[in-house]
Subunit: 308 residues, 2 copies
């Protein structure tokens, strides 16, 4: 996300008081609302644009529809929430016609069926502009308690699901939102903080650190690099790609140090879990490299001085 957009959102956040039932608004993967009788609801929304989030016709209408819902489901996974209802608004390019719109919704609804989300409403429009798909999803947190970005504590172990990097090769369209993994995690352990990796592992770790007021040390050797990264061709190391590429839609989370080993031994899903570092009380974000050096790890555009 460009710097200017961060500033715009910061201004909105400062300007916006949270009135009940809103407990938490701008600043996490989803908003948190407190309803009567103690019911908690989470709400997330994402808007996808042709030429930015997907290309057409390189990407099929069905995959565009699928991704539009999947990124929202990933946000709910990051809150440890179960999705309930989805709302889909479309700005459809007029000349592409009904079949394109049907295929887009078929792709979206196949994923909705998989996770038992109801398409509960939306707004369908045609125009002469490019395709825009805006999706809002409501959900219910596991154990009625959403996991926020702000709960990381010094000493926590930092985990990531799956592997990172190279998602633009296709995975950014076909990934499975980590809803099942999030639900299993909440059964096994108390999650302190969680986010889904959209901006990139390093950038999203910084979101957790900023919201929690803590720092971190990562272990470069432990960071899972996706096979999609492939051999080096662009002057960036494979680790650079894992740290910076983004759109992995893996879960990045922290748990108390005493829960860390227990989680690793109890974990019984096929998706790998990796402990990649530890939360610290000082506000710096650093990384131990395989050559024994320690480098600062900035949120974006990080490049290892030794190329690996």
């Amino acid at each position: 996300m460009p710097r200017d957009e961060f500033q715009f959102i910061d201004r909105l956040r400062q300007r916006t008081p949270f009135r009940p039932p809103v407990r938490l608004g701008i600043g996490d993967d989803a908003a948190v609302l407190d309803h009567p009788a103690g019911t908690v609801e989470v709400v997330t929304t994402d808007l996808l644009m042709e030429g930015v989030d997907f290309l057409w016709p390189q990407t099929s209408a069905a995959l565009i529809g699928r991704k539009s819902l999947a990124v929202n489901l990933s946000d709910l996974a990051a809150m440890a929430a179960r999705p309930t209802a989805a709302f889909v608004s479309l700005a459809l390019p007029r000349q592409r016609g009904r079949q394109f719109a049907d295929e887009l919704m078929d792709g979206l609804l196949a994923l909705a069926d998989e996770f038992e989300v109801t398409l509960a409403g939306g707004d369908t429009n045609s125009w002469d502009g490019p395709l825009v798909v805006s999706v809002t999803v409501l959900g219910t947190p596991s154990r009625n308690q959403p996991v926020l970005r702000s709960g990381a504590k010094p000493g926590d172990w930092i985990f990531v699901t799956g592997a990172c990097g190279g998602s633009l090769a296709g995975r950014h369209l076909t990934f499975t939102p980590r809803l099942t993994e999030a639900a299993r995690l909440t059964e096994l352990v108390a999650l302190h903080a969680m986010i889904d990796i959209s901006d990139g592992l390093a950038a999203d770790l910084h979101h957790i650190l900023d919201e929690s007021g803590v720092g971190a040390v990562l272990n470069a050797a432990a960071i899972p690099i996706h096979a999609d990264v492939g051999p080096l061709t662009d002057g960036r190391s494979r680790l650079d790609h894992a740290l910076g590429d983004g759109e992995d839609f893996e879960l990045l989370f922290t748990v108390a140090v005493e829960d860390g080993p227990r989680l690793l031994s109890a974990w019984d899903l096929a998706t790998p879990l990796s402990q990649i570092g530890t939360i610290t009380s000082d506000r710096r974000c650093r990384m131990y490299c395989v050559d024994g050096s320690v480098v600062d790890l900035p949120p974006l555009g990080w490049s290892h001085p030794l190329g690996g």
Copy 2:
């Protein structure tokens, strides 16, 4: 709304089962969700596009932002609901810069403050395309009971707030959503069915009739025509404009015949109420004209044969 979009939505509606907590999805002004402990929530969403819903720079950024929220608040008024939280997603034309985005949100947030709605989240993006604003609003129905389109009963009196027609002269940007009026109505009377007028008085009346399985007779002389309609210049009568123009964002609703006169005598807000007709058990929609003739009133493109 073009015929093809109606067919697209009908297909979605047929294809989409409502799973709990969704009680009512596609097919009303807002979806209705049943939460634990009997709490009811309504959710509505609208996507506005440059060149379709507004022009720029003819319309200021502030008015564009205002309208984007206002149309959603009007949908909640039509459910007799109080808005609580809003989510705003933007596709911002890159070259217009931060000031444009700030002014747009200032216009939106001024209306949010007026009705005590919290901006709880959203998604901010820049691109090279035209402006798109997608807004979703959550709300709570008065008396925990949303008013649907489907509750009209034979014999009901049909009412409309304010006056209709000519909104494109500017009112479609500056209208006040009828939230206060909807809340007062629910205090005074049992509302059977309600909708806000976006497609046009005749078209939106047909939505109520279709969902309720009833018909109607309107009294042409009783239909309030807005002063914005002005003198005839385009070959259509002033009544034509009131019936067909749309974007009036007035409330169209029905109450039991015994409640009708009581409502008129108890009504104490400045916004006028007009009884414009009666619900019938036969499925036709007709209108008594000032010349004593009776004509069928189709949902769209209606044109009185005598020009008045």
